[in-house]
């Protein structure tokens, strides 16, 4: 078996910080330092074998202090999940749930039920670090997915190819990779039998497999003949010779921006083929040198938001995160289409302004200066101290020396030669501005 390379360099603050961003939602205050002390093996193990969930931080609230109603209130589904990301003690589980949400991208715009979307979310979390085989069986039978990709409209007298096609194209094999249009049609037949009952006021309920509705005839899939069942449809895909490569490359792409080298890929495929378990593959990816020495990745908007909140020690206390997140291009439970979010296109001029607004709102509770007639703490007229203090306020992120220099130059120029009322008024303005600039810097938008 080809050995998969493991990172051998120093595992310090910067490496621990990157691991926490890639495999979670960034460090809480002091978390990068404590993770670094565990070393690479211990750090990765703490993520792949997390303790039971222990929520850290205040309960989520909307801006009026009310508890969230994720199944009912508009936008609270999004807030509910953001809160989990902020407060979780099992960040990799939560991050993998997000990966599966993108992998099996289902949108409430087509499902029309927050309750069903939340049920799917629980399913994804339950399988987060488990077996892909079992996850795929479960998601195939998931009501939200059955609605989203027309599973309950797939009848033996009029097959609907929607799910059968995506099962191969997006979930297991890749477009045109080892299957034909005939396989699409035959898989659609194989997947027949799902139905639901429509109840006034409730919509579709009582999702079930009814053997009477299933096409029991012979099918030919990937050149094999059989009276295949819906579970066979899934098994055939997972056992397809092209699947392991597709799986490994796709999973890898969520954690490392450049594709794996041939040796790594082959090694990961061997690991995965043993029993389709996700965790051993994840473990190898998170210990791979490419994660620590390779290029940076743009943080997805929800990771950017939750990371800022974790660094600031702030919980969910406003529903503004719903539209702010949407404005930066990522509304949870509403991916743009069945292919998920496009990671190569997180940033445009409007999304940058969206992230500016996110940073501005994230920082609102720690804005310096006079507020409501109260004098804030005095900020010294000292550019160096102002930049250091901004880094502290945001949880001490690692930034490039050049970025530090730009912030320092800004602070110096802004405070240069100010006298009179400005000498007292300007330092807090400059401090607020430095924090804002730091939060939107390319350093903090990437990890």
């Amino acid at each position: 078996m080809a050995a998969i390379p493991t990172y051998k360099g120093a595992f310090g603050h910067a490496e621990a910080e990157r691991l926490l961003w890639r495999a979670g939602f960034g460090p809480r205050r002091g978390q990068a330092a404590s993770l670094a002390r565990l070393g690479l093996d211990g750090a990765v193990r703490s993520l792949t074998h997390p303790p039971d969930e222990r929520w850290i931080g205040p309960q989520p609230r909307d801006e009026k202090g009310r508890p969230l109603a994720p199944a009912d209130a508009w936008g609270h589904d999004h807030l509910w999940w953001l809160d989990r990301m902020v407060r979780t003690s099992r960040p990799l589980v939560e991050r993998m749930t997000l990966v599966w949400h993108d992998w099996f991208a289902t949108s409430n715009s087509g499902v029309g039920s927050q309750k069903m979307m939340l049920a799917q979310n629980r399913l994804l979390r339950r399988h987060a670090l488990g077996s892909f085989d079992r996850l795929l069986v479960s998601i195939t039978a998931n009501p939200a997915m059955l609605v989203w990709l027309s599973g309950t409209d797939n009848r033996k007298d009029a097959p609907n190819e929607n799910y059968g096609r995506e099962l191969m194209e997006l979930f297991t094999l890749g477009e045109g990779n080892g299957y034909t249009e005939n396989d699409v049609r035959e898989q659609a037949r194989t997947l027949t039998g799902w139905t639901s009952t429509w109840k006034r006021g409730k919509g579709q309920t009582d999702f079930r497999f009814d053997p009477k509705l299933h096409d029991t005839g012979m099918k030919t899939v990937f050149g094999r003949k059989g009276a295949f069942s819906w579970r066979d449809a899934v098994r055939l895909c997972v056992n397809h010779p092209q699947h392991a490569q597709f799986f490994v490359e796709k999973l890898w792409s969520y954690f490392v921006p450049e594709p794996p080298d041939a040796r790594t890929r082959a090694g990961l495929e061997v690991l995965y083929r043993k029993n389709f378990e996700v965790k051993p593959v994840l473990d190898a990816v998170l210990r791979h040198p490419a994660l620590y020495t390779g290029p940076r990745m743009v943080k997805p908007p929800v990771v950017y938001i939750t990371g800022l909140l974790r660094g600031l020690n702030r919980g969910i206390d406003t529903s503004a995160w719903v539209w702010l997140s949407d404005g930066a291009g990522q509304r949870l439970f509403n991916p743009p289409n069945v292919a998920g979010w496009d990671d190569s296109r997180w940033l445009d001029t409007s999304a940058f302004r969206g992230r500016w607004n996110i940073a501005n709102t994230a920082l609102e509770k720690v804005t310096l200066g006079d507020r409501k007639g109260k004098k804030g703490p005095k900020v010294p007229n000292n550019p160096e101290a102002i930049v250091i203090e901004a880094l502290t306020a945001l949880g001490n992120p690692t930034i490039r020396p050049e970025t530090h220099e730009v912030l320092l130059t800004f602070a110096r120029d802004s405070l240069h030669g100010v006298t009179g009322w400005k000498a007292e008024s300007y330092p807090p303005l400059v401090a607020n501005a430095v924090r804002q600039l730091l939060a939107v810097s390319p350093d903090m938008q990437t990890c």
Binding site: W323, G327, D348, N360, E364, A433, T446
Partner: protein, 460 residues
């Protein structure tokens, strides 16, 4: 229905976004005015943008630069044709936009919603059809030969999902996975790496038709609102803060693609901020002054069109622009009144825009295309509305259009299996004509299988 609630919800989101970052913090009592917000800001803007400020809005300050600026900007792209895509979101009802009052089946399909002959202007190219009264401004432009009516546009095997059908129109193909917009692919072919304004989405996020693979494009809610405000920061400190965005974006990225993406977004945003400097309100003075009156009120559509005309007049290097029309066209319930109001605001705004362009001498450079993802079911539903259908209605507007109908009204006697209007023209053929005849590029390089679709004559 869930799909339709999403429409109103996204509008709430849209409004919320639009308000983000608005408003300067209050000036503290006793603080000396102008506290940096006046002259300092102006000086900064002048330093940062020079030309652009001079071109527009800076006349009071620097009259000479005003003239120089126009000349310089015009020299850069003097006769660039501009294409404007306007989306009627939700699936506008063909049988109301141009009501088939002369089709004997019409009252049977629309017992409650049918318009009467004479309710609006007669459509001179087909005696069966009557303009919706709210579209009188378009009838007027049509009378001047400035509108091509497209009364039954769509594609084979119509998809009745808002999302999917709109996606097909955005990407210019019946392909669910195509990720670049048809206008984006055009920009990838002819655009420049240093000009985000070449593809301008007048919206809070990028209109998908403009999605490129390589070239920068811009999304702004409104040209007068592309601002970077931060709590607890004002005056000259704020100006310098915004100026520092460009410096962060200009730092070396050492070949790191993630850093480069983040840096480019910062740099392009800073560049766009500069390009749009003339359009931000200064010292309580309105930044946009139009030679004609646009409809008032809160809706952003007329303001965006007014801003667009001003941007074109300022010589900003725009090529393709995309935005959504006023209103929501997913009229499942109580269609009559809502549709009438939305169409009126849209058509009044479009007429004002055309007159604005004419007054500024720009009308020959601009082609507007109004489209919707599908039309609606011929038979009205039980709640005074209509459900999703197939062929829709579109318009091409401009001083250079042929003024001739494209395709024809398909009639109510031969509906498809779902009771929907059949398409008599294909959107991909229309895109081919726009690309070849207006934008002067090879349609086959932009639209998949472009040669399969007949290209209508669109220009004079």
């Amino acid at each position: 229905m869930a799909c339709c609630n999403e429409h109103s919800r996204s509008e709430i989101v849209r409004r919320g976004l639009a308000e983000a970052g608005r408003g300067l913090p209050a000036i503290e009592p006793g603080m000396p005015l102008p506290a940096g917000t006046g002259l300092d800001r102006r000086t900064f803007v002048a330093r940062g943008v020079g030309l652009a400020l001079a071109v527009y809005g800076g006349a009071a300050l620097r009259p000479r630069a005003f003239d120089d600026g126009i000349a310089a900007a015009a020299a850069a792209s003097p006769q660039q044709k501009v294409f404007v895509s306007i989306f009627l979101d939700g699936g506008a009802d063909s049988l109301s936009l141009l009501a088939p009052t002369g089709d004997s089946l019409y009252p049977q399909f629309r017992p409650r919603l049918a318009l009467a002959a004479g309710a609006g202007p007669a459509f001179t190219e087909d005696p069966r059809l009557t303009w919706h009264p709210s579209l009188s401004p378009l009838a007027q432009l049509h009378g001047e030969g400035k509108v091509n009516v497209i009364p039954g546009i769509g594609y084979d095997h119509p998809n009745q999902s808002h999302f999917t059908s709109r996606h097909f129109w955005e990407v210019g193909a019946a392909d669910e996975r195509l990720a670049t917009g048809w206008l984006g692919r055009y920009l990838d072919r002819v655009g420049r790496p240093d000009n985000p304004l070449q593809g301008l989405s007048l919206d809070w996020s990028l209109q998908p038709s403009l999605a490129t693979a390589n070239m920068p494009v811009a999304a702004v809610d409104a040209p007068d609102r592309y601002d970077f405000w931060a709590r607890g920061v004002w005056g000259e400190v704020s100006n310098r803060m915004v100026g520092t965005i460009a410096k962060l974006g200009a730092l070396p990225t050492n070949g790191d693609p993630g850093l480069r993406a983040a840096s480019e977004a910062a740099a392009q945003s800073a560049r766009l901020y500069e390009q749009l400097a003339p359009f931000r309100p200064k010292d309580d003075r309105k930044s946009l002054v139009s030679p004609v009156a646009y409809p008032g009120g809160d809706d952003r559509f007329p303001r965006r069109l007014a801003g667009l005309a001003a941007m074109l007049a300022a010589g900003l290097p725009l090529r393709v622009v995309a935005l959504s029309a006023a209103g929501r066209y997913d009229t499942h319930d109580n269609q009559a009144q809502g549709l009438s109001d939305d169409l009126k605001l849209t058509a009044d705004s479009l007429l004002a825009f055309q007159r604005d362009l004419e007054a500024r001498g720009l009308a020959d450079r601009v082609l507007v295309h109004v489209w919707t993802e599908f039309g609606r079911r011929a038979k009205e539903n039980g709640s005074g509305g209509t459900d999703h259908g197939a062929a829709g209605t579109g318009f091409l507007i401009g001083s250079q259009v042929s003024g001739q109908m494209i395709g024809e009204f398909p009639g109510l006697a031969k509906l498809d299996d779902h009771g929907n209007l059949r398409a008599t023209s294909d959107f991909r053929g229309l895109y081919g004509s726009i690309l070849e005849d207006w934008l002067g590029t090879d349609a086959a390089a932009i639209i998949p299988r472009a040669r399969k679709f007949a290209r209508p004559k669109i220009l004079r």
